[in-house]
């Protein structure tokens, strides 16, 4: 898959997962597997970008005697999901068009 497109999809997936509730790295990797497989190294820059863009917030909480980082979606993050859905309506139109032509 095109790297740029994949990046956008992963970002949207992570935000969607965070809509269900705050989460942490390992949980996000496991839950994302439902739809697409991502590695730790793929997730890290995605989280950093979303944080920089203000789409999520990071906080640390104690867990089993160590600090674990949790990620929480922000309003900007929610807005971003909406934008993603709108943008992808166009993509889906193209998708349908291509499929129709094939059949």
């Amino acid at each position: 898959m095109d790297a740029q497109m994949k990046r956008g999809l992963i970002e949207a997936c992570i935000l969607k997962l965070l809509l269900r509730g705050d989460s942490y790295g390992y949980q996000l990797v496991r839950e994302a597997e439902e739809v697409l497989s991502i590695s730790e190294s793929t997730l890290y820059p995605v989280l950093r970008r979303l944080e920089t863009a203000g789409a999520l917030k990071v906080y640390s909480m104690e867990h089993n005697g160590r600090l674990r980082k949790y990620y929480a979606i922000t309003d900007a993050g929610r807005k971003r999901i909406d934008e993603f859905l709108v943008e992808w309506q166009d993509v889906m139109k193209v998708y349908d068009f291509i499929r129709r032509d094939e059949q």
Binding site: Y24, G25, Y26, Q27, V29, S39, E40, S41, Y44, P45, R48, N64, R66, R68, K69
Partner: protein, 377 residues
């Protein structure tokens, strides 16, 4: 691999990153491993589930905008650095082919060797009972072709192999003349020693010059190359210095040694500010020998053929100066009365003559060229 080792390697691989950023990455991966172990994986398996450190590092660095071009990355992979505490080494041998060798002093008490591994280079490091040997040889062209054949025959690959070999030859020729001023760093082995080097150093290379500066050696210093010059600058040696090359020059400036033996051909030998406690011996065929402001407490034996011998402000207890078809001239320190002089030339004038009675000895032989040597008090 343990969690600790993984994080340590990752930290090292991210050395170019800002500290805060780097710590963020490290704590992220530490947490990933911890969570996996908490989910029931062994430490080993949890670490194995991560991508290799180098892959993580290049991805993270790229994302962080730390410029790592592929070329730079490839160069980093090939750049080698060997470090040893000098106290652990009693002898250092460097044996190379077609490499320049530069020896200098550092501030620490370490022996450091740096070099690049080119596609035609084979390096091996041996360490045994305090003897550290860096061995380098060139991959033969034939084996290069065979290897490429193994990957699938391609004319280009063979031509590029041969091309590299030929351009290597070109550099060899250029490195001696120095006219073009281009000397690729990948053809160099750089050695940094403590200011006082207690271990013995022996360097042998070919088609590449050897330069040594600013080090005091407690043990003998042996340097040999071919088709390229040897240069010593500000070097002390409590024992013998031996320099051998061919078709190029030997240049010593500000060198203090117990004895020195210098051999070349078809190049000039230029010596200045030398202090030799015993014997200085220099053999140069088809090239001149010039010695300036220097002393050999014992014998000074300078031998050439077809080259002139020029001394200026030199002193020794026992001179043997021999050439043919070359003039012998200049000034010796001291008075003629101290010396028993024996000199001869043919088909040219001899201003030195012969005399008996001195405790010291001066012997000069040439032919077809004048002897104009003089004493100056």
């Amino acid at each position: 691999m343990t969690r600790e080792q993984f994080l340590k390697d990752l930290q090292a691989a991210l050395a170019d990153m800002q500290q805060e950023e780097r710590e963020g990455v490290l704590s992220y991966y530490a947490e990933m491993i911890d969570d996996r172990m908490e989910a029931g994986m062994t430490e080993e398996a949890a670490v194995k589930a991560m991508e290799p450190v180098q892959e993580i590092a290049s991805r993270v660095l790229e994302e962080a905008g730390v410029p790592v071009s592929n070329k730079q990355k490839a160069a980093d992979d090939k750049r080698q650095e060997i470090r040893r505490p000098a106290g652990n080494i009693r002898q250092l041998n460097v044996q190379a082919e077609n490499k320049r060798v530069t020896v200098g002093a550092g501030d620490g008490d370490e022996i450091v060797m740096r070099y690049m591994i080119g596609s035609n280079d084979i390096f091996q490091l041996h360490e045994d009972d305090g003897v550290l040997t860096l061995e380098h040889r060139m991959r033969p062209v034939s084996s290069f072709i065979n290897e490429k054949n193994g990957e699938g025959f391609s004319l280009e690959s063979i031509l590029s192999g041969v091309g590299k070999f030929i351009s290597g030859l070109g550099e060899r020729i250029v490195s001696d003349g120095g006219v073009f001023g281009y000397e690729a760093p990948e053809n160099e082995i750089e050695i940094t020693l403590p200011k006082t080097m207690l271990a013995q150093l022996a360097v042998s290379t070919s088609n590449g010059r050897i330069a040594v500066s600013d080090v005091t050696f407690a043990q003998p210093l042996r340097l040999s190359t071919s088709n390229a010059y040897i240069k010593l600058d500000d070097v002390n040696c409590a024992q013998a210095v031996t320099c051998a090359t061919s078709n190029s020059r030997i240049v010593l400036d500000d060198v203090n040694a117990h004895s020195a033996r210098l051999t070349t051909s078809n190049g000039r030998v230029a010596l200045s500010d030398l202090y030799i406690r015993e014997e200085l011996e220099c053999i140069n065929s088809n090239g001149s020998i010039t010695v300036k402001d220097s002393t050999a407490e014992g014998r000074m034996r300078l031998t050439s053929s077809n080259g002139r011998i020029e001394l200026d402000g030199v002193s020794a207890a026992d001179y043997t100066l021999k050439t043919s078809n070359g003039a012998v001239g200049g000034t010796l320190k001291g008075s003629a009365a101290e010396y028993t002089v024996s000199s001869s030339t043919s088909n040219a004038s001899n201003l030195l003559g012969n005399r008996e009675g001195g405790d010291k000895r001066l012997s000069v032989r040439t032919s077809n060229a004048p002897i104009t040597l003089k004493f100056e008090e």
